[in-house]
């Protein structure tokens, strides 16, 4: 009798987990995170603006090197001498990526600290949906922050943006986010497995940012790092994003192929690892341990 009830419950849960319901659940998590964030309006302003403030030292450094708006060496390397637009767009992209990885990657840790992780975990939705809900919240917040950064850069530094390339830039960003979701899965594994995994995640994220050509082209990286850089979807996402928005640069078909292939590989790797770690955590019952 007991097993019949259990089966009925399982069937009910399975029926409920249709795609529409999963999307609704992901949206509910996003909404919940927005409600919490809205309670701290000063934090919203700060986190939306601070990525732009961090760009200022890089721009001053560039100015001290070039003494003007053009760099002939950069023109030889990538085809544009407009170093300010090149660096700012690179940083806008990597700032967005960092925000999503840190935000979504540590979401389980935050729930653990709030004492709500177990309650969220027992809700009848897939774990992938759960994590996607957190990612969706950070993606929406990041889009607002990115827009603010670009407008501030246009007004204050006079960067040149090709408005016709916005759709392509957003498309590349969207595909790269799927790749980032793979990284978020991997980060969440570290958090679930080791709890205070900040050293590992810090090293990983700093390495990732190091090989992502935000303030320089891949060509200046040592050869061994170029190999890692070319395997990362962020490199291709950023290259397309920047090429689409800069009037002097062109987006080629090969860039999209590289982005899609690297995204699929990273997402699959992250998802498989997450499934494996998550099931082992549930078996050992260490979900709520600090």
């Amino acid at each position: 009798m007991f097993s019949t009830v259990e089966k009925m419950e399982k069937n009910q849960i399975t029926r409920k987990t249709s795609i529409t319901n999963e999307l609704r659940a992901a949206w509910s998590i996003t909404k919940k995170e927005w409600i919490i964030r809205a309670s701290y309006p000063l934090e919203i302003i700060y986190f939306a603006l601070s990525p732009f403030l961090w760009m200022i030292p890089v721009i001053f450094f560039g100015l001290s090197i070039t003494g003007g708006a053009d760099s002939t060496n950069l023109a030889e390397l990538v085809g544009t001498s407009d170093w300010k637009t090149f660096i700012i767009l690179g940083m806008v992209f990597t700032n967005a990526i960092t925000m999503i990885i840190y935000g979504a990657g540590y979401s389980f840790r935050r729930e653990q600290n709030r004492g709500t992780l177990e309650s969220i975990y027992v809700s009848p939705i897939s774990r992938t949906t759960l994590l996607s809900g957190f990612t969706l919240h950070y993606v929406s917040f990041t889009l607002i922050s990115t827009l603010i950064q670009i407008i501030a850069a246009i007004v204050l530094f006079g960067i040149n943006i090709n408005a016709l390339g916005i759709a392509v830039a957003l498309l590349s960003f969207g595909i790269a986010i799927t790749g980032i979701q793979g990284i978020v899965f991997i980060f969440s594994c570290f958090v679930l497995k080791f709890r205070r995994a900040w050293i590992t995640t810090e090293i990983a994220i700093n390495f990732l940012l190091f090989i992502t050509p935000a303030a320089y082209p891949i060509a200046v990286l040592p050869t061994v790092f170029q190999v890692f850089s070319k395997a990362s979807p962020l490199t291709w996402g950023l290259t397309i994003f920047r090429s689409a928005l800069m009037p002097d640069l062109i987006v080629s078909y090969e860039l999209f192929v590289n982005l899609i292939i690297s995204t699929i590989i990273l997402f699959a790797l992250g998802w498989l690892l997450f499934r494996f770690i998550e099931s082992s955590i549930r078996k050992t019952g260490s979900l709520q341990k600090f």
Binding site: F61, I65, G67, Y216
Partner: protein, 291 residues
């Protein structure tokens, strides 16, 4: 009853002693015991700055094609931007650790539930904060050795060691100023609890105005004036001259030292004033151990 009064008097006398080196050292030792349980953290904090400034070096290479540029030389007086950046970061990690370290120390105790017990130690609060400062200085000393050692190997740097004594004196005077700033931050933490945004804003302010990556002359003139009220800007002028060129003259050293002493006096007065006000306010409202 008499014994109680006597004990009370002894505690009061002890608390009134502003510079109690035994108390400062005890707090430092207590903290260092915890810190030394995780030696990898010290090495990592020495290596992280390298990961942060190497992209800047790559960026410089991409813009100029080499580790120098005519504009950079004209503005800074240095031919190579690599040692310029390394020495900049060598000084910057002291700012970061002193202010973040002291500012966050009380918050850490608050989160661990030990702040009230720490504040009940029969010594002046300043001694407690100085204990935390000394901990940060010792950690940063170890991390800075890792940073400079690794940079020398990685970038084949040749730093001048003959002027190391004036360098140490300048850094010491700079730290005096920063400890004053740290005490000010600790007061803000007691008052506003979560210090994250405040410290981050302070960090952005410092990293823009202190000439870590570029010479001060590249800043707009209004910002240049503000830059020189930050002790690190003053110290960096001398430390770079000493470690990169070996050309720090006695006159420059004395004038920079005097500038740093004045800043230290200003920041200590401000720090002590703000901390005392914050402490008084939280004791009145009874929220000292709260989040």
């Amino acid at each position: 009853m008499n014994l109680e009064t006597e004990l009370d008097d002894r505690i009061q006398n002890q608390a009134a002693k502003i510079l109690d080196f035994r108390a400062i050292w005890t707090i430092t030792k207590m903290n260092m015991t915890i810190v030394l349980r995780y030696p990898a953290n010290i090495v990592l904090w020495g290596l992280f700055p390298i990961i942060w400034f190497v992209p800047m070096i790559f960026s410089g290479y991409a813009l100029s094609g080499s580790s120098t540029s005519p504009n950079f030389t004209e503005l800074s007086g240095y031919t190579d931007f690599v040692p310029f950046l390394v020495v900049g970061w060598f000084v910057y990690i002291w700012i970061d650790s002193t202010i973040w370290g002291i500012g966050n120390s009380l918050r850490e105790e608050q989160e661990e539930g030990t702040l009230e017990s720490i504040l009940l130690i029969p010594t002046s609060r300043i001694n407690i904060l100085l204990g935390y400062s000394l901990r940060e200085i010792l950690i940063t000393l170890m991390s800075s050795v890792v940073l400079v050692g690794t940079s020398v190997i990685l970038f084949n740097l040749q730093l001048v060691v003959s002027q190391i004594i004036p360098t140490i004196i300048l850094i010491g005077l700079m730290l005096l100023g920063f400890i004053g700033m740290g005490i000010m931050m600790a007061g803000m933490v007691i008052l506003f609890k979560s210090p994250g945004i405040l410290l981050e804003l302070f960090d952005i302010f410092n990293s823009t105005l202190v000439p870590v990556h570029y010479p001060v002359s590249v800043l707009p003139s209004s910002l240049r004036a503000i830059s020189f009220i930050i002790p690190a800007t003053v110290a960096l002028v001398g430390v770079r001259l000493a470690l990169i060129k070996g050309a720090l003259t006695l006159q420059t050293f004395l004038s920079l030292s005097f500038h740093l002493i004045i800043l230290a006096v200003i920041f200590w007065s401000l720090g002590l004033g703000i901390f005392k006000l914050a402490e008084k306010h939280t004791r009145k409202t009874g929220k000292i151990g709260g989040y």
